[in-house]
Subunit: 196 residues, 2 copies
Amino acid sequence: MDEQKSNRRRGEVLESAILQAAWEEFSDLGYAHLTMESVAARAKTNKAVLYRRWSNKAELIRAALHIYLPKPMTVIPDTGNLRNDVVLYLRGLAEPLQIVGADAIHALIGELLNKSLISAIPPILQPGTESKLGAAMLTILKNAEKRGEINLAQMSPRIISLPLDLFRYEVLSRHEPVSDKTITEIVDVIFMPLLK
Amino acid sequence: MDEQKSNRRRGEVLESAILQAAWEEFSDLGYAHLTMESVAARAKTNKAVLYRRWSNKAELIRAALHIYLPKPMTVIPDTGNLRNDVVLYLRGLAEPLQIVGADAIHALIGELLNKSLISAIPPILQPGTESKLGAAMLTILKNAEKRGEINLAQMSPRIISLPLDLFRYEVLSRHEPVSDKTITEIVDVIFMPLLK
DNA sequence: CATATTAGAAACGGTTAAGTATCTTATTTG
DNA sequence: CAAATAAGATACTTAACCGTTTCTAATATG
């Protein structure tokens, strides 16, 4: 007998449990359909505890996304081969999506027009972040130019942004992580053949 | 003096005014933020009149979309030239979007995950309608094959769907009608060069 | 002109969920 | 071990908005 009479969580332990519950509710239901009650219930606590830490629903969910969404990779591949660099670049974009999984991607896409969450949405899904993500691509292409693989000046901007555009389309239309097969197809069937 | 003491609308006149108000509210606010009250107010009538005609909000908005969203074109271009056929095909997709305008496109994209409206969303925005829209593209390509312009059997499916994919990406990412410049770029800079 | 329709107006009831307040009780800390 | 802290539980307030109801008055129709 003599079970633990209770096991009241406090501080960081409780906070982490709440943030995890918030993340799961978000993945399962999306922002609009989750409620503070449902998050509290999932974390086996109650609303008041939530409001003691975050002043409203948007702040709670932003905090959960901040923790659970992987940060995008920053290293720019430089293998001495354009084709491989582009594949690795796209794989670097795909990896975070594989970690979060299809449910969360679906939920995130549903929030693309939600102003109170937009800052927490990964750049790969966000409109208007072309330049930021495109910068890495440009570096890859400049490296290829140094090796004499391409002539950057005579490449159309549309071709330059094509790998990223197709990658994004894949995510936006399928709502799931982008497969390796898709990545190599984008590069080998579309992008590379366009470089003459 | 002697103004018209009143001018109470009835029947079809009133119904059209309500549907127009519903369409405008939808374009301005999106489904989630428009209310039956706001539609009634915009149509200068009241909620009860709306509920006498449509049993709920979803039905009202579906009816409005049904009227105000142009039906997609059905004719498949056959000019004797592949490049021109594909440009005309994409223009046929762009035309309805130009009619509805950027605000409505934005609102429609916001509803892509809304089950009660999804059937009213134009195929060009809807996921899972590739085959329907792609059929026209396939016919165009078969015609080109008959003329000896291409060999369909050795074309990757990814290249076949590329014009449509890029068109869709353009709409999904920019939330506005697709310009003619973009269409010709997709065809002349990307698609045609990939056919050897 | 009499009668049936249907619009106008306004109040009402129900639901959902956000956010607050209060009180009790477990656990930490000095 | 006493006092402070923070969790648990629950009730409450507020707000938005859907959908209904009821009553009055305008207008169409026979």
